[in-house]
Assembly symmetry: C2
Homo-oligomer: 494 residues x 2
């Protein structure tokens, strides 16, 4: 093996122990080849960094037959002396002494030529797009964010809990689910009354892919104190949007003894810390994407251009305290807002509605110009397990609205809801009553209710859609571009 | 919130900044309550550590009605002064000034009473077993191992790649798969020739749960250089054993430019490093499990007792170089072994067989008494994507066996195969020829073959079953006891 990752080599060149003068081997894929009268210049990339290393051969040094095979996408091992670079933009380059061609890439057939490809086209070749600057940058940032998440929770005394992917419970009712089965697809066994006989299925019952690990997460928190999940979740919703995936990764921390305010403090500190980590560890990749967005903006009309660059936006989030207010206060602000008065909102604002993206974005981007945490939502629009507030919401004028729950949603510019969470109802009777109101059979999740039967405690948690976070940090516009192999309606290639 | 995790409090007590004399609040679940003539002693555990903190009240201090509700499993918040402990076994205790009962646990109904419960019984109440010492220890160790894995790869320049869970490819043929569908379960749409019309299914084709992320992992490695996966994988095998789960977590690193020996070096360093991490970070929990095994051994016949204690076994693995030899050499050793000569192996040993557990254990536990890496297996018993050796295997006497591939299996004492990997066939023609031999349609994984069409390179990788690792490190005997909510035939509760 004995080769040097390009990232390591370039980093060494900036240190006291410069590799200049030494002989090294680098291996990677050709991004571009350029020939001048005196020399051949090859830009080689190995994926360790967005930076290429320039390899140089004298004109005539390499046999024509070799030179011809060195094209964009071909894979090379190059050995030679590290020298100070003559050109600008790089400190060092490698003087080719020996080159081995591992693999060619016929320019007539290789889809990734050194030109601008549309994101739509690259989605069609998702197996190759990590070889582009944009997607390798996204995937390195995705890695850094994932690691930052594990590190944050580990540093703060949380335990990683792998909740089940295949589940027999649909208690959350969070959406349509994918069925998991090994029964005969055409003629499944039926019961006497003509239903599918799931007792003969692999698990002896009907099973689906999980939509959330929260309920099992709560079991963990009520034993280990603080846990988090980080795994795939699934929604069989037939929505072809830039914000939805059928398969996506969720992070769900759950903490015994945390109340709503603790939950908000954690969510804010958590998301700032992982974004700060990305800024510190992915400077090159973020600079590339920042520039990419600026270039893209130049092709847009002035009013559609971003107010903030990508890096400015990230700095903005980590340097500002998130604004915290109740749903009821937010409704008051929205009702008195210019767009409401001018009839510019598509959906009418009144207490009790589920806030739409236009409302969330007005609050975050126009009114507060900061990330916002909304709390104490109407009970009717939130999940059964959220802790009920003692008093119903009232307006400043004394109007009494309906009952509320200790929910919290964190809203980000451009993204809307990035985190949703709540304090959980720890009172068995209230929880069961609420389940019955919304039509969930308590017996179906007897094990969940056991946490309230035995040693119940105040507790809270939240969920963060990982791809939403990656979308925010990379500044990309379509969620299918921030996961390696997206799954969506009619889309399961690779 | 403002409470101190018990782990933090106990750790502070061993440092220079002792909390003795200060007032603190601890929150957790009662493990035991003991009353003497002069005092009440409550052992409280919050899951942050296996250690309890002892809380003490004077006799008569707490009202009878309160005292009666403080039973095993109940959840309390206790505030009081931290004092030096009078008893042995702990440095500090808390003098109860105030106690809040968050949740009771009726001793008539709460299944976890302070006595020894069988592992079988605890599997039935997997939602509560993390509240026991054994399972909380296992889950904390599981967390530490998961974190160590992410840290290892991050430290070594690997990128975490989330390969898809729902997949349309069954190229690996690694076993039976779970179908994922949203079609009507009773009357699915059919094509004209009476087959299920999967074009009407959610993804427009037949889809299953992944058995491995390797093929997609290779796509990542051929762009980013070094990647790893760490996610759930699935096998719909109807096997009710102590070693198999239908849903389990796999770690699959894949490295461009690595050959077989690099792969072995990585696997050995990786597994030693994560075990070392667990030893360093889970001393209390490992000591508890070590002791648990010793107690269990006392009930066994001498010949069934473990030769090494748990901690000794872990030290043994990290302090010994793994023995490396070829499959062909291993067969020679097995053929000349005592058990073979005495006819004690259940399965006959000859070149070409898939080694059985009894053979692997003989090599690791009897012959070498060290972890073993076997390489260069017969091509016929390994997957199509493994790199073919140039020459067929020969015996020391010059016998010529069949063709081999650059596979490697890492064998551990008590566990057998813990890691399986290989260098991959990077030559398109050889790969396609092998696929056709074993009946895999190249067109089905055209995207995989593109890595060999365009810029191919030597590369290698391996897979580690996470639960196998946790089984080894915790010394548990049943894989269902090292994952929070096991999935197996007829088993999908919680």
């Amino acid at each position: 093996m004995s080769y040097l990752p390009i990232k390591q080599l370039l980093k060494a060149a900036t240190g006291v122990d410069s590799p200049v003068g030494s002989t090294a081997t680098v291996k990677g894929w050709v991004r571009t080849k350029r020939e001048s009268k005196n020399a051949v210049f090859i830009a080689l990339n190995d994926g360790s960094t967005i930076q290429n290393i320039q390899a140089v051969a004298e004109a005539g040094q390499l046999p024509e037959v070799t030179l011809k095979l060195i094209t964009t996408g071909s894979c090379l091992s190059i050995t030679g002396q590290i020298v100070e670079s003559q050109g600008s933009g790089q400190a060092i380059e490698i003087k080719i002494a020996e080159v081995v061609i591992y693999g060619t890439a016929d320019p007539e057939k290789y889809p990734l030529q050194p030109k601008r490809h549309s994101l739509e086209f690259l989605r069609e070749i998702a197996h190759l797009r990590p070889r582009t600057n944009t997607f390798s940058a996204i995937l390195r940032i995705r890695h850094a964010l994932a690691f930052a998440i594990h590190k944050y929770f580990n540093d703060h005394g949380f335990f990683y809990l792998n909740t089940p992917i295949i589940t027999a419970s649909d208690a959350e009712g969070a959406g349509e689910m994918f069925r998991v089965t090994t029964l005969d697809a055409i003629k499944p066994p039926l019961t006497e009354d003509g239903k599918v006989d799931y007792s003969q299925d692999f698990f002896g019952r009907e099973t689906n892919l999980t939509v959330s690990g929260q309920l099992e997460g709560e079991l963990g928190a009520m034993a280990l104190g603080k846990i988090y999940t980080f795994g795939p979740t699934f929604r069989a919703e037939n929505s072809n949007t830039t914000r939805h995936l059928a398969e996506f990764w969720m992070i769900e921390p759950e903490m015994a003894f945390y109340e709503l305010e603790d939950n908000m403090n954690l969510a804010e500190d958590f998301v700032k810390t992982v974004i700060r980590y990305a800024i510190q560890h992915c400077a090159d990749d973020l600079a590339f994407l920042d520039n990419r967005l600026k270039e893209e903006d130049k092709t847009k009309k002035k009013e559609e251009q971003s107010e903030l660059g990508l890096l400015e936006k990230l700095q903005f989030v980590i340097n500002n305290e998130f604004v915290r207010l109740t749903y009821t206060e937010a409704i008051e602000i929205l009702i008195s807002s210019k767009p409401a008065k001018k009839g510019q909102f598509q959906f009418e604002v009144k207490w009790g509605i589920d806030l739409q993206s236009e409302h969330e974005r007005y609050l975050v981007e126009k009114h507060f110009k900061k990330p916002v945490i909304l709390t104490n939502y109407p009970r009717a629009i939130k999940a059964f397990y959220m802790k009920q507030d003692h008093e119903p919401a009232t307006s400043p004028r004394g109007e009494v609205f309906g009952p509320t729950v200790r929910a919290m949603d964190v809203l980000f510019p451009g993204i809307g809801e990035i985190i949703g969470g709540s304090q959980r109802e720890e009172d068995l009777d209230k929880l069961v009553a609420r389940m019955q109101e919304v039509g969930i059979e308590p017996e179906a999740i007897w094990w969940y209710l056991d946490t309230r039967r035995f040693g119940t405690a105040p507790h809270a948690g939240f969920g963060l859609g990982f791809e939403r976070l990656v979308l925010f940090v990379t500044g990309m516009g379509n969620i299918r571009d921030v996961i390696p192999f997206p799954r969506a309606p009619k889309t399961a290639e690779f």
